[in-house]
């Protein structure tokens, strides 16, 4: 290992990546997601998570919430390159402190007779829901702040998680109270 690599391991690179949230309004046209994703890959920007859905009834526009790993490139450069895409209408930057963020997780857990009530209890404590019940499995759902989802996921790992799917986070700016 080179000294540079050792330094990188010891220093900032080993800490959790710094994330920033971009809320990107795009025209809801064929290929838009591909244009956005393609831009990230060819410019070497890293996407941490991505969520996309139409924003209006006419489905003219979609909102893409992208969590960007800003260790990979300066946020300003990511925004300016995104802004050059003709189908990108506007870009909002949400720093984690100024945004409300939510994420949803669905998890199917294998449960025997004793674990069943424990998992149901855990879901209740977190304010989630049991959304599907099988003979020896439960599918549970929780929506909330991403850190809460992380905690929930961590506790579920004490059981046998068969499948787990997170949505990636969505976010909007926090409202001004004054």
């Amino acid at each position: 290992m080179t000294p540079a690599q050792l330094t990188a391991l010891a220093g900032g690179k080993s800490s959790a990546p710094r994330h920033h949230i971009l809320s990107v309004l795009v025209e809801n046209k064929a290929g838009v997601l591909s244009r956005v994703a393609g831009l990230f890959s060819r410019r070497g920007f890293n996407i941490y998570s991505l969520a996309v859905a139409p924003t209006d009834e006419d489905e003219h526009f979609s909102r893409i919430t992208i969590v960007v790993d800003v260790e990979s490139a300066p946020l300003e450069q990511v925004i300016q390159q995104l802004d050059k895409l003709v189908n990108v209408v506007s870009i909002g930057e949400l720093s984690p402190g100024d945004a409300v963020e939510r994420e949803l997780v669905l998890a199917t857990v294998a449960v025997g007779p004793t674990e069943r009530s424990q998992v149901i209890q855990l879901v209740g404590v977190f304010g989630g829901e049991v959304v599907s019940v099988g003979a020896d499995r439960l599918t549970v759902m929780l929506a909330g702040r991403p850190e809460k989802i992380d905690d929930f996921e961590g506790l579920l790992e004490h059981y046998t998680v068969v499948e787990l799917q997170r949505t990636g986070r969505v976010a909007l700016p926090k409202l001004d109270r004054h």
């Binding site: 025209e27 064929a30 290929g31 244009r35 393609g38 300016q80 390159q81 895409l85 003709v86």
Partner: protein
């Protein structure tokens, strides 16, 4: 008025003022070729689709108008991917219309189907797949708008065969609002506060340099630049993409910066305390090792593409805007300073620059009796050509010698492949340039390696009576690669030898309907050029058998600091 989609497409091009297009028909684009017979647009039938793309680029670079190329689906479309990538790197307005299989067949791997909008997404400014015949006029108008405004660039319109045969009610959009581009708002004016800050920096600098890039030509700012240079007395370097934007004959012109730039241009940037970057993008071929580039310089960076500001080097003042408008604003801001000089006393700076110019001019060993020196060919071509000749180059040693030894005194007189470095660019690009400016002499200075990539387009030139001139600096090698192998790979020459006489360039030229001329000794050069210049009714190709061992100097090795510039071995090494 009811039109077929094909008629609507051609009529839309006519409405955009297109007078010429370059293309080659095939199955999917067949319906669109029918109304071309009745159109006012001149269609030039190429021999390979790559040629169509580069011709359209050459046309665009000398006229300032967008170049238009039309190809069929599948391989027709993929053959024009290189010109799209080239135009994207050099910000050339290029409109490519590609045929596509019928909408019902898309996604079925139909004959000659290719997802060309997917393929070209990363190398076009934008692209469109037309799925509704009623969209044709709007999309064509939008494509021209996007290609020519803001930072210019290539666009592609993919046109399914069934759409071409569907009827539509003709209309033509009359305003930008009708183009349905809610996310496209190119900037133009610079922020006046930032312009004032830039003016302050200019007034305070002791070693300023105007670092001029291709954006100055794109924004047609050569006159404004001249006024700025004249007002301030600041030295000017013109990048490979900006040759001609400022006259080389002007006393403030230092020439080209970069890997093979003039010593004084490279070193002026390096020692500067203020770089005024106008439409340039701090390309690695200009900066060398970026962390060692112009270490003492503050940066004013003007670019119409906001994403360029700070992309490579942090700007002290970054101004997003059209170069011409920003330079004009800057002139007003500097002029508003009232009495007294607008800049510091630059005499000490100029004295240093003149010393470098004297010590390290461009140099090559032109001893009597040797082989033909490629630099000398360029000089003799230059001296025998009309003053406003358009010069076109491919990529490699010949390109650098052309850029170094030609004296560019007019904007839009230099056409080459800069960012992409596309070998084979010169022959088709010079044909497009001549079509765009038939009143001018067009000389392509090409290498033997480049020439072999696209020479068949001279058949197009002969058939269409486009009298271009091609000078092949034939050193029988892929010369630039050979130079690197000599200098950095211990003279281990791997796969770079071509041969001086295979092919026989004179016979090849003649077979394509051109005049073919050969110059084998230095004494042949003058007469060969004279003969070539006397031909004006057909293309002419001159095979100059040049010194295979000649290298391009100065040189900054890839990844090295510009401080480590290497001059010709006969010149005394620079003292640092």
């Amino acid at each position: 008025m009811q039109l077929t989609g094909a008629q609507a497409l051609i009529k839309s091009l006519e409405m955009q003022g297109v007078d010429v297009m370059f293309g080659l028909p095939g199955g999917a684009i067949l319906p669109v070729y029918d109304p071309i017979i009745d159109s006012s647009i001149r269609h030039i039938l190429v021999r390979h689709e790559q040629g169509a793309g580069h011709m359209a680029e050459g046309y665009a670079m000398v006229t300032g108008k967008p170049g238009v190329a039309m190809v069929t689906s599948g391989p027709g479309a993929t053959n024009i991917v290189t010109p799209l990538a080239n135009a994207y790197m050099d910000s050339t307005p290029l409109i490519v219309i590609s045929g596509q299989v019928a909408t019902g067949s898309i996604g079925t791997d139909a004959f000659q189907e290719c997802d060309i909008t997917g393929v070209t997404m990363g190398i076009t400014k934008h692209n469109w797949l037309i799925k509704d015949v009623d969209d044709i006029p709007r999309v064509v108008a939008a494509a021209f708008h996007v290609a020519t405004t803001g930072r210019p660039g290539p666009v592609l319109i993919d046109f399914p065969k069934d759409i071409a045969n569907t009827m539509m009610e003709w209309y033509w959009p009359t305003s930008v609002e009708e183009l349905d581009l809610p996310g496209y708002h190119p900037v133009t004016d610079g922020d006046p506060v930032l312009v004032a800050e830039a003016a302050q920096l200019i007034s305070a600098a002791h070693r300023p340099v105007l670092y001029v890039g291709g954006g100055v030509l794109k924004s047609r700012a050569a006159e404004a630049l001249r006024a700025l240079a004249d007002l301030t007395g600041i030295p000017v370097v013109t990048t490979l993409m900006a040759r001609g934007a400022f006259p080389d004959s002007h006393p403030q012109a230092l020439g080209m910066p970069g890997m093979h730039g003039h010593y004084t241009a490279v070193t002026a940037l390096q020692r500067s305390d203020l770089l005024i970057s106008l439409g340039a993008r701090f390309d690695d071929r200009v900066t060398g090792k970026i962390s060692a580039f112009a270490p003492e310089a503050k940066i004013i960076h003007v670019d119409i593409d906001r994403a360029e500001l700070g992309k490579v080097r942090r700007a002290d003042v970054g101004i997003a805007g059209d170069c011409r408008l920003v330079i004009e604003e800057l002139l007003r801001a500097l002029g508003a300073k009232g009495e007294g000089p607008v800049v510091q006393d630059l005499a000490p700076w100029w004295s240093q620059l003149h010393q470098w110019q004297e010590q390290f001019p461009l140099y090559y060993d032109d001893a009597e009796g040797g082989a033909i020196k490629p630099q000398n060919v360029v000089e003799q071509l230059r001296d025998a050509a009309p003053e406003d000749t358009i010069v076109v180059a491919g990529v490699g040693q010949h390109q650098m010698w052309a850029s170094q030894y030609w004296e560019f005194n007019h904007p839009y007189s230099w056409v080459n492949s800069g960012g992409a470095g596309t070998m084979g660019f010169a022959v088709p690009a010079c044909i497009g340039a001549k079509v765009g400016r038939p009143d001018k002499t067009v000389w392509a200075i090409d290498g033997d390696g480049c020439f072999q990539m696209t020479a068949q387009e001279l058949v197009t030139a002969t058939a269409e009576q486009i009298p271009v001139k091609i000078a092949i600096l034939n050193n029988a090698y892929l010369g630039m690669v050979r130079q690197w192998q000599e200098m950095f790979y211990g003279e281990r020459y791997s796969e770079v030898y071509l041969s001086p006489d295979l092919p026989d360039y004179v016979k090849w030229a003649e077979a394509m309907g051109c005049v073919g001329i050969r110059a084998e000794t230095p004494e042949d050069v003058g007469p060969a050029i004279e003969k070539a210049n006397s031909v004006d009714d057909r293309p002419v190709v001159v095979d100059f058998r040049t010194d295979a061992f000649e290298k391009v100097f100065p040189m900054v090795a890839a990844g090295q600091s510009n401080d480590d510039i290497v001059v010709h071995p006969d010149q005394k090494a620079p003292v640092r």
